[in-house]
Symmetry: C3
Subunit: 266 residues, 3 copies
């Protein structure tokens, strides 16, 4: 029993995800395949990399993570297999694997020999024709067609974290989730000790100012209250209790957000 995860921008309406799973199961019928998400915005490598970074670490040791957001499929871009401290990562060499793999601790880097994997109908579907088969081979204990390469040669992509300086932080919106929670690029290590539950934080976004209470849980304030908390991502989130903060704030991924711990509340 070997877990393989899939993260793509293929959506749910086309047969592309299923074909990739079929290709995996044709090589390893013992594989347990888990979807991370297939709703990455088309071609948005950075969003895919961020979601993989969030999710990868909750899977069992030796899980094989396959991530494919791949506008360069069939051109010169390489296919990678990365061995990290606890996992394997497989996908295109465009940065999508890098933040998660580096976070876990890179150990070995392989370039897939793309010529060894037959393409069906065109050069446009490497998830099914290359990365799925490579994952299935790894899961079945076989050796994929690949050779070790130097880490310096692989495409890197950074998801920049920031931190408070004194009472202030210049953050960026990394993601907006289904609940309208606005996920920022600040984790627990970036927050000063004097930001404690009950403090207020002033939020500057799109030319407007908002006041939010810092709490431990969404439900610590009445429904409709604007709040700031550490979400399930481990990152600072602006949220509305039983509501939708991104609608209220007209927030979008990529926007800058100014945070200031309010003096009155310290």
């Amino acid at each position: 029993m070997r877990v393989i995860t899939l993260l793509t921008d293929f959506g749910a309406s086309d047969p592309y995800v299923a074909e990739t799973k079929g290709a995996i199961l044709s090589r390893c019928d013992e594989a347990v395949i888990i979807d991370i998400t297939h709703q990455v915005e088309p071609y948005n490598i950075k969003q895919g990399a961020f979601l993989l970074l969030l999710a990868y670490k909750f899977f069992p040791h030796d899980t094989i993570h396959v991530a494919v957001v791949d506008p360069g499929v069939g051109t010169g871009r390489r296919g990678l297999v990365l061995k990290t401290r606890n996992y394997w990562f497989i996908g295109p060499d465009n940065g999508i694997l890098y933040p998660a793999a580096a976070d876990d601790g890179l150990e070995q880097y392989f370039e897939i020999d793309l010529e060894k994997y037959p393409k069906i109908g065109g050069e446009t579907f490497h998830a099914r024709d290359v990365f799925g088969p490579v994952a299935g081979e790894l899961a079945a204990g076989l050796e994929p067609a690949m050779r070790e390469v130097d880490v310096e040669s692989i495409v890197k992509l950074e998801i920049l974290a920031t931190r408070f300086e004194g009472d202030e932080a210049q953050a960026e919106i990394l993601h907006i989730d289904r609940f309208g929670n606005v996920v920022l690029n600040i984790d627990e290590s970036g927050v000063p000790g004097h930001l404690r539950p009950g403090c207020d934080v002033m939020i500057g976004l799109g030319g407007k100012q908002y006041r939010a209470r810092f709490v431990k849980a969404y439900g610590d304030l009445p429904a409709g209250s604007l709040l700031i908390t550490f979400g399930g991502t481990g990152l600072l989130e602006i949220a509305v209790s039983e509501g939708n903060a991104s609608s209220l704030l007209r927030a979008k991924p990529g926007q800058k957000v100014e945070l200031r711990i309010s003096p009155s509340s310290q």
Copy 2:
């Protein structure tokens, strides 16, 4: 091999469902995880409870059902494990488990010792940090950290069924499905014997009157016909053959519907 189902309001675009599955598989890599749905309207406990009530009984004996619609996560609300005649139910103590568990026959009630389960990054994601791990432990034959409690202490939620009185019924819309079928809170036991296929039923909704034929199958009438039938839910449904009844009737969940068996058709 042990089946675990998941029902949440997490959607398909975020990594939350996958992280919960990873947490389960990290404790029991033999678990077979089946999604009931993750498209419950955010925070809508009653809708989640209704969908769980519909689906739970079609799974194998001893299936573990995990349901998480959880606006109160991280506040005082408890986490529950319910043992019923044929199944296990795991989730927050806010009523979401109650209709299904009571329908199957409650046998034992446990409160999870939330302190024993480490929270990652905040108090906001008990599906991944508590309920998933508890389900994985149960599936692996381990004893979760929990203690038996009294049934009187758990939060109850009723999904009210109604019935015809003579030729008339005052029903409520419980759900509108993807086909636009309008699901009412009347099951077979609530319908008089003289409502037979071929009868007409007058439908009063939103100040308008509609006439629908009672049939055994959607396709018993030509495409476009308004009809009333027992759907796959086992409940009375207003539908349009190969069409969308909710668009035609501008129907919404929670609305009242008056039904009257038409004299001309008896």
Copy 3:
């Protein structure tokens, strides 16, 4: 371990897919169930048949494919089990199984004895009450209640392919995928040898003319370029590099498209 795939028009918000999976697992708890898609347009048998035709062949030998788009459920229409060279196909006798099964090579045709399978709550949900159970029985090595019938009696449905005549082709749009790629009914065998990468193709659609470069991979042209290529479906596709061709061309499934290999580019 036996793979069963599901393709339906049930969507992701209702419990219908999960109930079908529960019915399968109740008969065969070793089954590995893979979703092809549940986002077929409601009642669109032809679209379901097309997506099944694309996906079926990537699964392991002996996979059981269950496909249910079923406006005629509960009326006189029959339920089928088709044995082909490499697979099994199960679903309603309305043509949805036919293109894929015929493509693989039909060997045996069975009609399900619908009376032997109890319907729960009505005649409206054969995926859960008939086709799922039949698939589970097959996967468990049991004999479903069915009898062999003549191939002439089953409903056929053709997905018409076309081909270039000289430099011109009159094609049809079969599908538009999540990336806005416009999939045409021409495969590699329908394209003349002198259409080589680098050629231009004139596209006539909706009264307008467009010029597209024929390439091997989406990324062979700069972002925003209109192109034509063999997609992962094995069919000719009109696409925009890192963009959305269906938005640009206002293309819809079923539309006619005129293709002409441009003289200047040969």
